[in-house]
Symmetry: C2
DNA sequence: GTCTATAGGCGGATAGAC
DNA sequence: GTCTATCCGCCTATAGAC
């Protein structure tokens, strides 16, 4: 009756519970925010007792920061996969459009991504270290990847690749924020492709 | 001993209390967020009793939405004053740089503006109507003003003024979010003028 | 390690005096 | 209209059995 891998009924292991608590905490914190989430509901969502939660994490703040840090460093780290070598021989319009679409798909298809961003932004005043971890892992990674492409692509000779990369990412992320996060699609409508085309044209037409 | 204008000691007026409650609520909600703010502390900050708060506002949610709506519609509505006629005869580089600097100054000099943005973004899932009010009053206003300038300026002939306006605002706002709101200045340093120059050059060099 | 049960406090909201 | 005093539920965190 022993099931060494999983599905076991005895309660002797702790790593499984830790995962369950993190999963339950993720569900609750992403849905309700930090202050409005209760440890009772985290325990229920994790299917453990509240005392078990407190035996794995010192307090509510520790659970929250451990959880968000994990999301930043693992789950939402790679907005973009590493570019393959062949992209350097692909027209920049194609590469940049794919880059933009990948980022926007994250916001529209990954169901928890918008709530994750809401937490990072909304709690950036009370949890500045989490915000910095986000900048290091997500924003900086995007800037570097795009900037490296700008520098290496033989078809592009930009005056300031670093600043251009930030403009590109900024235009895309702000579009995502206004249209999806702030529910602005019906108030300031704009086709995604129209923004991307204009953005790509600005950059491709402007290499020296 | 009557002071008809202000400073009166009797408690017969209500509009003054309403203002005091809104001011106290603004202080508390902007500092701690919606869920972490208690009506006790709002009452203390407003220097009235908690019962008085509840005689002016039905519940916590009503006070919060009334307060944020007022901030959106009055205090932070005009990121930019209406353009004067002479700007059309000023070089676009100057006008666009001034526009960008005005927006970034709001984030760095108006002390409560970042907390205001944190609330709008962080609560946009639970208070979607507040987010839409923000889009209508702040984002849409910026887009329209910049777009109108793009269309009227005799030195600029842009292929898609609407999309270009959104790229411009997006690059600026995202810069503000990463550097100031998310405390990214030391992680991904970038001079403000460097971003603005690159952005302005992209647009000015690209009119058809 | 995990549970049930509970401590102790603070939350939103209201009753009733003046 | 405004106050003081209070209700009662839920909150974080822990004690103690197993």
């Amino acid at each position: 009756m022993e099931l060494p891998i999983s599905g076991r009924k005895d309660k002797s292991l702790s790593a499984e519970k830790t995962e369950a608590i993190l999963a339950g905490g993720m569900q609750e914190f992403l849905a309700h925010g930090y202050a409005a989430t209760s440890m009772d509901r985290v325990a229920i969502a994790a299917r453990v007792s509240k005392a078990t939660v407190y035996s794995h994490f010192q307090d509510k703040e520790s659970l929250f920061t451990a959880l968000i840090r994990r999301l930043v460093e693992q789950r939402f780290r790679s907005l973009f996969n590493d570019a393959e070598a062949e992209v350097l021989h692909t027209p920049p319009e194609i590469v940049l459009r794919a880059f933009a679409n990948r980022a926007l798909d994250m916001g529209t298809q990954e169901p928890q991504f918008l709530n994750f961003m809401r937490i990072i932004l909304g709690e950036s005043g009370r949890f500045p270290q989490l915000a910095r971890t986000f900048v290091s892992n997500v924003e900086q990674t995007s800037f570097k990847m795009l900037c490296q492409y700008f520098k290496e692509c033989p078809y592009l000779k930009l005056a300031d690749p670093e600043a251009t990369a930030r403009i590109f990412v900024g235009a895309i992320v702000h579009f995502l924020i206004v249209q999806e996060m702030l529910h602005g699609k019906d108030i300031v409508p704009m086709e995604r492709d129209r923004l991307i085309d204009t953005l790509v044209n600005l950059i491709v037409a402007n290499h020296q």
